[in-house]
Symmetry: D2
Subunit: 319 residues, 4 copies
């Protein structure tokens, strides 16, 4: 089994993939997983569909290292892939160097601009004299620092993930240096379309929809479809479609599994409303949260209603 | 075949039943219809359910002779009866006497109070000197006048339906005497539960629902169910349920037939929401009006959506 | 001060009026209230508007003695009257006679048909042999029994209110004879338009609206107006308008006072939507219940929003 | 007057600014406009708020040269700026070189990756043998080509805007080379908060809102607020807020001007619902389109409703 991830090695996406492998080792035991970094979600997806890799970990929400737009656009454009799992990673940064160095002796600090934005207050107060230089990723900042000879590395440090520091054998000068603790990025594990994981009762379903652009209020109608089936939406993001003004695709996560009658009913109604609905998978929620289902949204209520109408329909005089 | 109607003979309900028999004579040809007047919709319904009569004509909207509340309460209380047809009758009144009489020689005019209310302006201006006396129905006013001997009938007239005047051999002194022309009463033909007439494309469906009384906004939810399935409501009336404040049953007509997917879908959702849903029949609209159906509410859209979700559901890993 | 009520004396409406006078004696102290029975709500309202009486108590919900339709129709037809208070009366019946009589010696029992319907099970099991005769009201049944000479009254009893039995000096043979305990009727005290009682925080507002009949979904829109302002509806009843099919007036009670910003905002929106909106008063709830108001429906939220938009509007370039 | 734009010179944003100056020359006549390119919308906005420039043109929808996310994030983060105008630019590309060159003699073609994506089909079929190289913008591709000496420029071409080719004196080898004609980018002209342009009747209003994150269905409520005031939404885009999952800001355009009562009413309701509402301006629509306003959404309907409730409120007894 070959698993792609948005690279290079030691990105938070890499970490998310390692977490997934560690949490359910039985699923991967015989598979001898190979991990393959990719430069973009789009290229990884092409390889996935072509069969060159078997699964792909990609950021879908709030990544500090980019990639989210790419993931959303890929998910909006195809329905021949399926999300089978999600992972979240606590985003935290370390300041790492080749050797233990007092902070006031640091001259240059490298990192990815998104990461720098999240530690800028810390850098301003703790290493006010150091220059800040850009790298193409936090992982690259660490890797490049590790590749320098000892002399060239003197006075230099990288802002990177703990995994990157460890992987490249760097010394951690300070940890938890992000200005606002608690940031989390969410990742999804994507496979070729085929099997949907069984319902666990604590599930999430991901969709990409396009709305009829000639009808005012179509987004309102789509949200009412969810609401009137007791389906909570936990995420909605818009992405422009093509080059035409006012055309959007919406990437949506809802609570529940396609096996839940209420989710299936909402999907049917969305299918009627929307010119495009991509079903992108139902999978276990990483937080294990189970929605509170009102009685009239329970499977039993949908089943009883179906049976009732079928019985009545049996009384129709053949025309 | 025995047909009950809200009597006595020559009521507008009687007229509605005669209209129904005349319009579709082939349905009744071999049936040799017998027409049976009833004092109330409730007693007629008891006889209908017991099998003593085969069908029942009853007013459901805006009757000038009462009976509507009775019909609504009967329809709310049972689902072992089915509406199979509707009729409308143009409500118009005549002033009738035993013999031609100048208006200024009339001393007493009898009628049902509801009918009097509808001709009071005419009476005030045309026969200002006459006394007005109450009868238990317009039909009874005509019948009682016809039963008097010629002498006693002198100077008396009745406000009644044209049918009543004709039936009891009365002379029509003035016709179309209602203050506001154009009033219409609507009637339904009810049978024991059994067969639903085939879909014609111009159909109506009647329901009686009770809402969950512990949830604010339940009526709003019920109306959204109709709206989100493209189902127009052509009538809604509330009737109190039992003796508890704030508990209502709603009698509802919608455009469409239970065989329409959009109507069936709305019925299923109402069944989940409402503690009580009585389906009371789908039947041809007397006005032949066909609703304009938006593309996403067409049968094809519902069918395609169902097929799509079923295909996806086939991909779920057995748990 | 002259107070009308739906009579005759000792009806439950009479009792509701006595309750109101007893509960707030200070309001009526100097007024030396005179109580005037009326045969119908319509005639009492005519007298009220003409100034012959100063206030009127009328049943509005679930009266066992009729009158509710009459009240609703009067309230729908005018906005020159204002509801200033409500009362509820626990509906309970007694069996009363001129003198103590064993139940098995009763030959005839009189009452109003609505009342009989509510005690029929008790009568069937406790006085199976007695005849049941109709009176024009429970009060009339008691009054007429009291008017008989002792001999004629032997073997006769009336089903009536405790107040009627007491008023006419009858002996109570059995009390609480209603088949289902707990029935309540609600009454409103109506004055000529003029003053709206001050907000108490536990208030109710009554409206009568007509919907635009050329727009599908207008009732849904009306209910959304209430819902989107956090206004709960505690009662809705339809009444036909005129003689045209499909035209209804809706009588509505909502929780709150017109001084509540959320209620005022809802009224404004209803005024735009509806061709007819009659505001019929805001008055203290008899149960003292205070609604739970979400923060964004509080007065402060409406006031802050108004101030914000006004500030922005001040920046518009004069055109 | 100093006008910033997302540079470098000859970007489509530059072109949008030139269009604006040309269309309403009287507004700019005395102002002697100076045009200042900026590297990012964020830095330009900082300068705008600081007073270093007076206005700023920025892409807001579907730019081929990026910048949209930056604009949306800036608009979401502040309400001390105001949009006063919009512009649209038809996106079209030319292939330009230093001198007329047969296509089959081109060896290298440079452009911005977004632009390349839009002409890739044309390049693949028309200049299949050429290498494609990235520049930091289409403008930079043209500028750099112009800066080369004639020899070095031989066999090289740039994909750029017609404006860029003209500005840098390049020879146009082919025009309209985009694979899908008709792409449009939309730009807004932003000033410091201060004056809102007068209502024209064909206006647009831009908002940035954050929803209460603890309430399911808040987006649905926000859209219902617009819908129930007859306010059409012409654009909605989500942008993540901070680093927390599931928190979004929505950038919204609606049809109408804050001086329209229906827009003001919707703004008030959004202010109650949303913890953050940034009003970013009302300005003339570049397409001149006037919305069809239903009668109950007209200014007159709002004004009449306000007057009615105020009159009623005047009747409240002082508490």
């Amino acid at each position: 089994m070959r698993y792609g991830f948005l690279g290079p090695e030691t990105t938070f996406t890499h970490q998310a993939l390692l977490q997934a492998l560690a949490e359910t080792p039985e699923e991967f035991a015989s598979a001898e997983p190979q991990l393959v970094p990719f430069a973009s979600v789009a290229t990884a997806t092409t390889d996935l569909i072509a069969g060159d890799i078997d699964a792909l970990m990609a950021p879908i929400e709030n990544s500090v290292e980019g990639g989210v737009s790419g993931t959303l656009d890929v998910l909006a454009a195809t329905d021949s892939i399926t999300i089978v799992a999600e992972q979240t990673v606590q985003i935290t940064f370390v300041l790492a160097a080749r050797a233990a160095t007092p902070l006031d002796q640091l001259g240059t600090i490298t990192s990815h601009p998104h990461a720098q934005a999240q530690v800028q207050e810390w850098l301003r107060t703790q290493v006010p004299a150091a220059d800040v230089a850009a790298a193409s990723s936090t992982a690259a900042a660490a890797r490049d620092l590790a590749a320098l000879d000892a002399e060239a590395a003197r006075g230099r440090a990288a802002v990177c993930s703990p995994l990157a520091a460890q992987h490249y054998g760097l010394e951690i000068l300070a940890e938890g240096i992000e200005d606002h603790a608690g940031a989390i990025t969410r990742f999804v594990l994507v496979t070729r379309e085929g099997r949907i994981p069984a319902r666990t009762g604590a599930d999430k379903t991901t969709l990409a929809i396009q709305l009829p652009h000639n009808r005012a209020g179509a987004l309102l109608e789509a949200l009412e479809i969810l609401s009137s089936n007791g389906v909570n939406m936990s995420r909605i993001e818009s992405r422009p479609v093509g080059d035409f003004l006012g055309r959007y695709s919406f990437s949506i996560d809802v609570e529940g599994h396609i096996e839940d009658r209420r989710v299936a009913a909402a999907l049917r109604s969305l299918h009627r409303l929307c010119p495009v609905v991509h079903y992108l998978g139902s999978y276990p929620r990483v937080d294990g949260g189970r929605p509170d289902i009102r009685e009239d949204y329970a499977d039993e209520a949908y089943d009883a209603a179906r049976v009732w109408v079928e019985r009545l329909s049996g009384m129709i005089t053949p025309s």
